[in-house]
Symmetry: none
Subunit: 418 residues, 2 copies
Amino acid sequence: MKTGILTIGNELISGKTRDTNASFVARELYLQGWQVSVIMSVGDDENDIKSGLDHILSLSDAVVITGGLGPTVDDITTAALAHAFSLNLYTDVTALKHLKERFQKYRLPWTENNAKQAVFPEGSETILNPVGTAWGFTLKRGRKIIAVIPGVPAEVKRMVPEGVIPAFRKEFAQEALAIAHRTIRLSGITEARVDEALADVDFDALGVTIGFYPDFPEIQIVLSARCSSDTEALEKIKKAEVQVTARLRHYIFAYDQETIESIVASSLTNKGLTVAIAESCTGGLITDRLTNIPGSSSFLERSVIAYSNQAKTDLLGVPEEILKSFGAVSEQAAILMAQGVRTSGKTDIGVAVTGIAGPTGGSDEKPVGTVFIALTDGSKSFCRHYSFRWDRRRNKIIASQATLIMLKRYLTGELEHE
Amino acid sequence: MKTGILTIGNELISGKTRDTNASFVARELYLQGWQVSVIMSVGDDENDIKSGLDHILSLSDAVVITGGLGPTVDDITTAALAHAFSLNLYTDVTALKHLKERFQKYRLPWTENNAKQAVFPEGSETILNPVGTAWGFTLKRGRKIIAVIPGVPAEVKRMVPEGVIPAFRKEFAQEALAIAHRTIRLSGITEARVDEALADVDFDALGVTIGFYPDFPEIQIVLSARCSSDTEALEKIKKAEVQVTARLRHYIFAYDQETIESIVASSLTNKGLTVAIAESCTGGLITDRLTNIPGSSSFLERSVIAYSNQAKTDLLGVPEEILKSFGAVSEQAAILMAQGVRTSGKTDIGVAVTGIAGPTGGSDEKPVGTVFIALTDGSKSFCRHYSFRWDRRRNKIIASQATLIMLKRYLTGELEHE
């Protein structure tokens, strides 16, 4: 089955917004084993939408359209499609009810232009929007199918796997070979080195295709197998995974939809352990990431972002002499910060990060990107020294990643044996 | 003049690589005042390239093509174009010489497949590649022009402004109108309400086009004017901006490339003021955002993420009785947290946020999304109560945005007069 993608919005063709939806949708389709023939972006212009869709339909059996379903005058996707196919529009009462309830629930003032988001072309089937206002729809034209969803990335991320893919699978049931995927998530290694490490593995012979998706600060390896049965597909994936793990074990931190935050959070919760964090160069990012997990208040007692030396002394009890003789960016300071925050929070674990995010503040001895990460449980303390080489924001991200991975390794017992 | 963009590469249609070239090229063309009608991506497939280019040429006077100019077998762009237009191929001696010199300079082993990168369709004009191996070229078809360059982002960033734009300007000299833009950034208002507020303004009559770009948690309004002179374009923009400001003043927090973080950081730095922050439901996000700004250590003394009540008492001095009688999510707690962190940090300003990010923890009286934000300068204290209505992550983002905006309003003196 061939597929195509049309993303709609003036912000895309003016270069104002980088189109993240197109690559997300492409990947979701590709991982189903469906070839993507063409990706196109046009503005909120009826003629461009129509001629673009004509072109895509000439190359594809199924088309995903994103964008232009909002309440404002420049949102014209639904009307343009209805016009292109000479269909009337109707208001879906269920969608309208859902929409009004959402406004009520969030105490938003209802304005009539919002009702537009419950209007669909005749003959279409609606796609529920679990995280936003505008519902999507599918529309069949002969043996082809078109799915239309809003352009908000968070909504696309839910509606493609939950609404669009199932609708396409149903439509092209004869194509539905069993397909299995496994995403292996790595950190602390470059794409070139992953490629090199796997150069001797013959994935073709294993009946598996492999894709690399770098997504800073991690690299995702996606293994896919299409077979006549699920069992067979899963078996092939398993064999390929064994090969990958044998070569890259040290860099693997998660699988499939897991994140390092979610793994650390579950592990802390399951073990009933609490943690306190002292951040410096990461500026709160570690705690921000951990507190994205619902229920984080059960294991996170406190964090201190000790940006000044005074704060390191006041709140974490790091003696001034240590900061003077070794510097705030040092193994000594990192360990004392971890011990200090653990003591003040009366937690099981204390974690601390100190470093130089840049662009200024570096020296010959301690260049930008120098980071010390420490962890203590009261009886043992660990410290790791890193030299990152990115800009300020990415140094913060990669230092927070390294901290969460260290915490994970502590929780699995690996840290002790490194 | 209408333009179109075609990016070529299997990595784009499989979702493996996010296409950053398309948005870069689009913006460069758009800022020249040239409308981009369509952006398309296809794989390294001759038929898809040909039919895609046909479609784009039917809509555009000028086309930029990126990708598929490398030395490997799947790089077929040049051959596909020559074939599509029935043109012979020739080797450009200057390009070949440059290519071989580059290999020598970087001591790369020369292999014959590299010579492919100096081959062009008959009648084309070469575009120098200042940072890579494959040169680009322009090709005229009737009154239309096609520019082809490699897909390496660093090469695109040089070759578009240095090669492609000058070639297009030369070709369409009569079109070179002046163009001006203004981005107005709003927060705390929905797109539908922005639309409604501006419904009575006749932007057409003002000679200005308006676009809305929602980018959670903000909405950007972009005004554009195209005229024969810069002065005239700027004047039109200014008149339209007056209309927007008159209707939406309260929600505007920044213009053009400014961010709320950068505004707050400059203002604190310029006034020589320091700040300490007590976060709860935002989990470090406010401090993370502020510390993304280089030099933030000059105004940020410390932050405390007081996730537990114990931390609120220990680190911020909020009396237990207050937490018991009013709750940790209350105006009383927020103000005491702000005062506590200001006192402990000995800073000019103390800021605090306490709330319920969700999905659990809400009650009838204080539902998920309830947030109190407080600010104190020692003599005056302010507190605002918000009811957000998003998921956990977006509640954190919007609460951090509201906090930074409150800090900005304090610094401009607006907060006192609200």
